[in-house]
Point group: C2
Chain length 212, copies 2
């Protein structure tokens, strides 16, 4: 807690997406209220922890005997996470993964427009799922005109650093990197690593722990 602007811990923030996913699921089933104990049980957390987390982001307190109103809670968490602010994003690398992400519609629910993909290979240029794939040369122009703030990097490992440099040169400050490579970026640029293999390996490790 440095100056009052961020009184919410990182650990709490990291649990918010799980709450949101859970609450939306319950809302979809027609449930209107949910207790901290119920959330904790389904998500494998402690009820006290859940209450603490929710107290930090919810605008209205929970009702004794009922719990929290799901609809309000979803609104509050979305507002807290900033899903109400729209962001434009692009994909760099139109291989299998890049094209799959380009076709994925789920981002719109989170305030993110993925507007196009770019690829160094002319063979990949065209369109996927109604969205355009441009040659890499057009990145600076299109990115600047559309105020792109985020890039999703889905190029092969060997091309990652070079592509990263191009992204940075355009002024993009946030990169979601799917290439299993450590990227060197200047100060002020945020990289988030999304290594599918690591996720899977971690999962194996977790579930294997019991068996040894």
């Amino acid at each position: 807690m440095k100056n009052g602007e961020t009184a919410v811990s990182k650990a709490t923030v990291s649990r918010m997406p799980a709450y949101l996913r859970y609450l939306k699921g319950e809302a979809g089933k027609g449930v209107e209220y949910v207790s901290s104990a119920a959330i904790a049980k389904d998500l494998g957390l402690s009820a006290v922890g859940v209450r603490k987390d929710l107290a930090l982001v919810s605008s209205r307190p929970g009702k004794p005997r009922f719990g929290f109103e799901i609809r309000l809670l979803i609104e509050d968490i979305e507002k807290f996470l900033g899903y109400h602010r729209w962001t434009n994003a692009v994909i760099i690398g139109a291989g299998g993964l890049g094209r799959a992400i380009l076709a994925y519609e789920g981002f719109e629910n989170y305030g993110i427009h993925v507007i196009a993909a770019f690829d160094a290979s002319p063979a990949k240029v065209g369109a996927v799922g109604g969205k355009p794939v441009y040659p890499m040369e057009q990145l600076p122009d299109i990115a600047r005109r559309n105020g792109i703030r985020v890039a999703i990097l889905t190029v092969p490992r060997a091309a990652a650093q070079e592509a990263c440099d191009e992204i940075v040169a355009v002024g993009i400050k946030a990169i979601l990197n799917f290439a299993p490579v450590h990227l060197h970026v200047p100060e002020g640029v945020t990289v988030r690593y999304e290594d599918l293999a690591v996720s899977l390996a971690a999962l194996c490790g977790e579930s294997a722990g019991d068996q040894i």
Copy 2:
């Protein structure tokens, strides 16, 4: 620290993949030694923290004046994370994302064989990147014969819980879920959520924090 078997904190474990990625990158450039200070600088951590993490997994101490020997460190971390144990995995849902993952070769580096995909739609059956796509009905048979321990779930949101139930019924104990849905699973089954939209949204939030 309950009984001496797990004296390594979760936080430390969660940083290991980043170390590994970084070290492999440096090794690829021909570097042989690296200091805790250098790692910390590039990864945005504290040198003391890096030393503490590495002390817990490395078999040999670092050399004063040189740092750690990268080759040994990579071996130690891989051993620690269990990448030496082989695991068979399958993909459930052969849409765009499922096919992209099926074609991805990177898993082999982490001790994971993705042997096949399954899909409820007959139209999807066939092969991708040399790997077979089977109809969903064959999951129990093939999974049991190959000792499948992990499933990667890439079906649409609406089909996720049903597919999850089928996976669980087969006896698979670990699921990497790409559908943006909370899954209800029995005790003993581990689910890891890999919500691309959330990752991206979180990234936007991080980089947006400065600008408000």
